[in-house]
Symmetry: C3
């Protein structure tokens, strides 16, 4: 068992503690922090279970499973927050996840990996295909905001809703076609460990084959626990962040994605430090891609069913921030090489964006 | 005779029908649709005649001919619409042609070509030079809009006019220098079939040499017929699009460019399906380049002579759309390779932009 | 002695003339022009002295010296203008320096170099690292403007100040790390003549070793003289530019950077015409990088000490112009090759931006 595994098992203790904190009224801030600490290892267990099951069911079904459950933690938190009417926070968590994956996760990976290795390489082909898909996805989810911002008198609310649903449908179709491309017609381009499947296959060959029933059980249990902890997190969110002096926008853009993506963060950084930069970049970029092409559209459609006006009309500065994150990530990853300074540049971009969101007045 | 030729000859029947529709008052919508159908084959004949004449007169004069008459159909429609005072529609058709060529034409070519061939290649050198020229052109024609949008109190109308004419002159000079570069000083970079000249030369060597007088006659007749049909199209445009519930912006950005560019569309897609991706990309990118560096400036100067305030102050969302189209086309074409998914990404970008223009409120 | 040296020595005559003009009240416009003419050769002497000293003290200390004194002229003019309260002009000179280096200097170099050599090459690796740093720097210094422009009700003045200082500190840290990268951990990437050190080393080996005391004296004298002439320039600036009908914005963006950067301009162009494109590009890009990562932050912090509200809230169109300059410079330099048309494209971009700033109404 690795050190990371030990830490993540130890963190499971926060599940009962956070529930106790909720039942015994220890205060919103306490519940918020404890439930956040409980979600981190659960997300990791969900990820581990998904990958073990993926190995057993084979590459196609496994790839689909990864593609659907890859950001399950964030999706669950977002759905619960959406039902609770925290629409602004949910929207902000979408842009925040994209920014966090591209700048914070990729930046930490390149920086810490770069401290060990002078220069690290990764496949530019996959990076390029992903970058193009990312560009499209980001453009598409930001178009309603661009319309609102650029026209004198914006759209009526129900027209933004319609446009957002139209865009969401196009994105889900594109997501499906991206899977078809990467798993069927051009799978040879993705030979190197997308989503860690290959990694796991090698481990699987070395160890005993994973126990399907066990891991399905783990996945269900972890999903259930994440859902419960997310209720605690969302229920305490408004009061807790107000006590911390944070705006809903800052909470959604910076705080929630760090909680929801902690598992990907540790994976990406760990493999970068083993010089498996291919895998590291594909975890970071793949995760943002999934957020933009799959999680965001699902939330738009879910908002429609839940009667919550979850459209794609973001804060204009979110548009700026996402465009900035995509441009700088493209510029740094396009040559298929990385070094510690490139990691620093990504991290510095994250810090100045974070500062900006901190100072941004609530709308 | 190819199937395409047969269809385009059959379509000539819409010339007398559209004129009859106009004289017999069959209604604006009918005249609009019939004249649009008549223009498509005429544009194709103009293109064919231009290329045949280009073969006879030699590469230099031929290149210049292609460079001037390449977008003649769009220029004629735009000039007639400008004289009729449809300034907003004309402006929108400029941005719409750029977007349509980069996303719809290139997207369809890459998608349909990609269904036949796993991976298609084209010269990245030419793509890169063109991309840089395109970036400049797009930036230049959008600067007046950027000024209007970014300053608290915009420019006075006559100052925008002056700025637009200044920009137009710079762009025409750059266009001339681009021709000098591609036809004289660095013509070796463009060896592969720009504007189809080489294609035609091969055909010419196989068949009999083209009859110059015949083709000049065809060119004149087709130009005259396009001009007449454009009068019908423009005359019926406002009432027809209103009946269809379309804004002038949507008409200019989406509808007119599809009519004016139908010939390029079919050429680009046809050659892509024969794996001549070089030619396909250069038709699509070259056509947008010509619009931005030649057609747009000519229209600005013509507007000044015609007393129509044809400046370069576009709708801000047009700026967003063109920037988006250029960025995504750059991102996809910069590696000199294409596959079906990249075609889908371009088409999806076109669809979401189309949806956005559909919902955009009239200003 | 080269022709350039002769001209620069002859220009020293403008030092006494400009002082006489000031004392004898020949009028603001005269003083402005004469002091500008005096500053150009002084900046060149400062550059020469810095490089000679750099050769003597060795690569590390020398690199640091170049990194600190590289844009000393601009920094001195800006500090004096800041003390005089010309905050808008100073801010505009920051964006103007970036635009001028990337478009005017690089454009002239590629154009004039390209007239002699069909195709010129330079190291894309360094261009890429610099481009990424530049992207970050530009994004960071423009974020406060983006916030102001994108939010309904902007930030309070003191919050912009705080945010600007935060951003300035991040940028100075990044600048320090960039130096560490280029001079220590990855210096091998920069083997080819960054900041001309190698050039000078070769010359030094051929000639006698430079006299350290002499050059330190030259540096001090030139710095002092620049400071005096800058007082004259700044003192006459407002009246002179008003007489010329120029806005403070145009003065800062176009006029001041041409004066402050004249030395870099001549160096970059001269070496480009000797086919040393590597050095030419690194002078132009390196200088913009230094402005964004070092000069701009220093000015923000100095403004705070001087009690002048020197924040990073630029005119929104400056944001547009810098983004445009960076995008087009990236697009043209990313392949490590240049030709005369690419030079023309950069120059054309500079001309249309200049036209735009000329017509931009004072805010």
């Amino acid at each position: 068992m690795t050190l990371k595994d030990r830490i993540f098992i130890a963190l499971l203790v926060f599940i009962p503690i956070s529930i106790a904190a909720h039942l015994l009224h220890w205060g919103s801030l306490t519940v918020f922090i404890l439930s956040a600490l409980a979600i981190v290892p659960l997300a990791s267990w969900m990820g581990a279970a998904t990958e073990e099951i993926a190995v057993v069911v084979g590459p196609s079904a496994g790839g689909l499973l990864n593609a659907t459950f890859g950001n399950a933690t964030e999706l669950i938190i977002a759905l619960i927050a959406l039902r609770a009417g925290l629409v602004e926070v949910v929207k902000a968590s979408i842009t925040g996840s994209i920014i966090g994956n591209l700048l914070l996760v990729m930046g930490l990976s390149m920086f810490l990996g770069g401290l060990r290795y002078k220069e690290q390489e990764f496949q530019p082909v996959v990076a390029r295909v992903n970058a193009s898909s990312m560009n499209l996805a980001v453009i598409a989810i930001l178009l309603p905001t661009a319309i609102q911002f650029s026209s004198d008198r914006g759209l009526a609310l129900n027209e933004i809703e319609k446009l957002s649903i139209g865009v969401a449908i196009v994105l889900i179709l594109v997501y499906g076609l991206t899977l078809l491309f990467s798993m069927k017609t051009h799978s040879y381009l993705y030979d190197v460990g997308v989503a860690g499947t290959e990694e796991k296959e090698v481990e699987a060959a070395e160890h005993a084959p994973p126990n399907l029933k066990l891991w399905v059980g783990v996945l269900l249990a972890a999903t259930l626990a994440v859902a419960i902890e997310s209720e605690l997190l969302v229920g305490s969110l408004e009061v807790a962040t107000e006590q911390l002096g944070l705006t809903p926008l800052f909470t959604g853009v910076i705080l929630l994605p760090i909680i929801g993506n902690a598992a990907e963060h540790t994976t990406a950084v760990t493999v970068a430090m083993k010089d498996k930069m291919d895998l590291s970049v594909s975890v970071a970029v793949g995760s943002s891609l999934q957020i933009a092409l799959f999680v965001a559209p699902i939330l738009v459609i879910a908002g429609w069913f839940l009667g919550q006006p979850m459209d794609l009309d973001f804060n204009p500065f979110e548009l700026v921030a996402v465009v900035v994150a995509v441009l700088i990530a493209n510029s740094i990853s396009s040559d298929g090489k990385s070094n510690w300074l490139e990691g620093i540049l990504l991290l510095a971009a994250y810090v100045v964006l974070g500062l900006s969101f901190y100072f941004l007045p609530a709308s």
